[in-house]
């Protein structure tokens, strides 16, 4: 019989706490949250120094940028912010390119201040933040990989098994209907979740780091021309930017799924490790 009142209450309501996330995973998860957030915000500040993206070895090939955020004056001498995508121009005043400042004047501003670090354009400081947290991120990521392989977290919790592959259709439908596994099944990651995590861990995150390396003129000398494999240095910069936004998309979906499948339960399990599972605790 349970001795503590809370355990007794849990048993009456037919649920129990399951130790889901071990300490190293929890710690590394939150370090990653901080590092990636600061990398993203400082990255947008760095991007503001030259807010245009190109495909190729250089920025000046005779072709216009693929994407550009700019500030310009209209024929009525009004300052507006514009975003150009594949040569098409959109007025994005107040969001991208220009915004009203504290004095009420519309001034050049690539991104809103709350989306960049530092909030004002300050390239040298943004680079300091970016490179410092890039190291935090890379070291944390390597520790995570080593831990996940040695503790079998990767093989046991993340690698899809035969059953996972067979249930993939079912899982897609469940996700679209916002239906989530309950009871014993909720202890494991579902197959889409596993695939999403694996894609982020083994494709997106290594790619964003590699494209960061590709922007370094010194690292480009390692094997001269290796950057051209990705289309050239400016293509690498474009990929770096796109992958950063794909990671944002992943985080938005991740947080959305956390909210709709039991926000407090998931949050607790990533802080204390304990996740509440409906049903009788297995003896």
């Amino acid at each position: 019989m349970s001795s503590s009142p809370s355990a007794a209450a849990a048993e009456r309501s037919g649920s129990y706490l399951y130790y889901r996330h071990r300490l190293p995973v929890r710690v590394m998860h939150w370090i990653n949250v901080v590092a990636l957030t600061l990398l993203f915000l400082s990255g947008l500040n760095i991007f503001s120094a030259h807010p245009a993206l190109y495909w190729g070895k250089s920025s000046y090939t005779g072709k216009p940028p693929l994407f550009q955020i700019a500030t310009r004056e209209t024929e009525e001498d009004e300052v507006i912010g514009v975003t150009r995508i594949f040569g098409r121009e959109f007025d994005t005043t107040e969001v991208l390119g220009a915004a009203t400042n504290a004095e009420g004047d519309v001034v050049a501003r690539t991104f809103p201040g709350w989306l960049t670090l530092p909030s004002d354009r300050w390239l040298s400081m943004a680079r300091r933040w970016h490179f410092f947290f890039a190291w935090v991120f890379v070291i944390n990521g390597l520790c995570y990989l080593a831990y996940s392989i040695m503790s079998r977290h990767l093989a046991r919790d993340l690698a899809p098994d035969g059953g996972d592959w067979r249930s993939i259709g079912r899982s897609i439908i469940d996700h679209l209907r916002f239906k989530h596994p309950t009871g014993e099944a909720s202890k494991r990651y579902n197959v889409l979740q596993k695939l999403a995590y694996l894609a982020v861990i083994f494709i997106l995150l290594p790619l964003v780091v590699l494209m960061g390396f590709a922007m370094s003129p010194w690292l480009d000398t390692l094997i001269p021309g290796w950057v051209d494999f990705f289309g050239g240095r400016q293509s690498a910069r474009t990929i770096h930017f796109i992958v950063a936004w794909l990671l944002v998309a992943f985080v938005l979906i991740h947080v959305f799924e956390v909210i709709i499948s039991g926000f407090w339960n998931h949050l607790r399990s990533m802080i204390t490790g304990r996740y509440r599972v409906d049903g009788e605790a297995p003896r």
Binding site: S59, H130, A134
Partner: protein
């Protein structure tokens, strides 16, 4: 009631999240203004330098490109015309009176005319110029190899850095002339040039005439334009802001390999 409690909990949480976000960003801005925190952050860039030196050989060559890759009209950034009467006088005569002084910790100080620089062993290379802002341009450079020049002036043993003093003031009234510095490894690197030609014509004023440094494995701000004087030093701690270059004194890293 449960639903109400749930709602107020959510509202509280939403507000807490917003406040935390503002606090974090405000806190980051405040930290950026302190003396100590940017120094801590700079350890990241120090690690960049250490790691890049560790994994890339000191003599590794920057990628070279073909004529087809040349950027039409090499972009001019920073100064396009130095605001200096002495420079304007030199430029008016096509730099016929220009002399590059090479001194400091050397056995054999020299002063070279443009014609003498052009007579030195030269190298032509098509390379990519990567600005710290994020853009790149590809240009064909011809210039005297700095390494050859150094062999002629014979640096003393204690010389550790090569300083480049430029004609362009970065502030009004001729204040804060641009300057840069590189270490001896970069100075003797085969692709490090005192460039006097860009894309087959004499270096235009907007790109740094008459002489611009090319130090291909580093970002654009290391490539000093309008070079007037070269000095070999043991340390740059007492020169200008003490960080080894104009932009370095504004907070950019001396090591510009990334």
């Amino acid at each position: 009631m449960k639903r109400q409690a749930e709602l107020s909990r959510r509202r509280f949480f939403g507000r807490a999240l917003g406040a935390a976000g503002a606090l974090v960003l405000g806190g980051c801005d405040a930290l950026s203004q302190t003396q100590w925190f940017p120094k801590l952050l700079a350890t990241g860039e120090a690690l960049n330098e250490a790691m890049q030196h560790l994994i890339a050989p000191r003599r590794a060559m920057a990628q070279e490109f073909s004529e087809a890759d040349l950027s039409p009209g090499f972009r001019s950034n920073g100064t396009a015309m130095p605001d200096d009467p002495k420079y304007a006088a030199l430029a008016a005569e096509g730099f016929a009176q220009y002399r590059l002084d090479v001194g400091g910790l050397v056995e054999n100080p020299m002063s070279l005319s443009l014609a003498e620089l052009r007579a030195l062993p030269s190298r032509t290379q098509i390379t990519r110029h990567d600005c710290v802002e994020g853009w790149s341009a590809i240009g064909k450079w011809k210039g005297a190899r700095l390494g050859t020049l150094l062999e002629t002036v014979r640096p003393k043993r204690e010389a550790r850095f090569v300083m480049f003093y430029c004609a362009d003031p970065m502030e009004p009234n001729g204040a804060s002339p641009y300057y840069e510095s590189i270490d001896m490894d970069d100075a003797y690197h085969p692709q490090t040039l005192l460039a006097y030609e860009l894309n087959g014509v004499p270096l235009p004023i907007q790109n740094g005439a008459p002489i611009r440094l090319r130090v291909e494995r580093q970002l654009g701000y290391k490539h000093a334009k309008y070079v007037m004087r070269i000095e070999l030093v043991e340390s740059f701690a007492k020169i200008a802001g003490g960080k080894g270059g104009y932009w370095e004194d504004q907070g950019y890293e001396w090591w510009a390999g990334i």
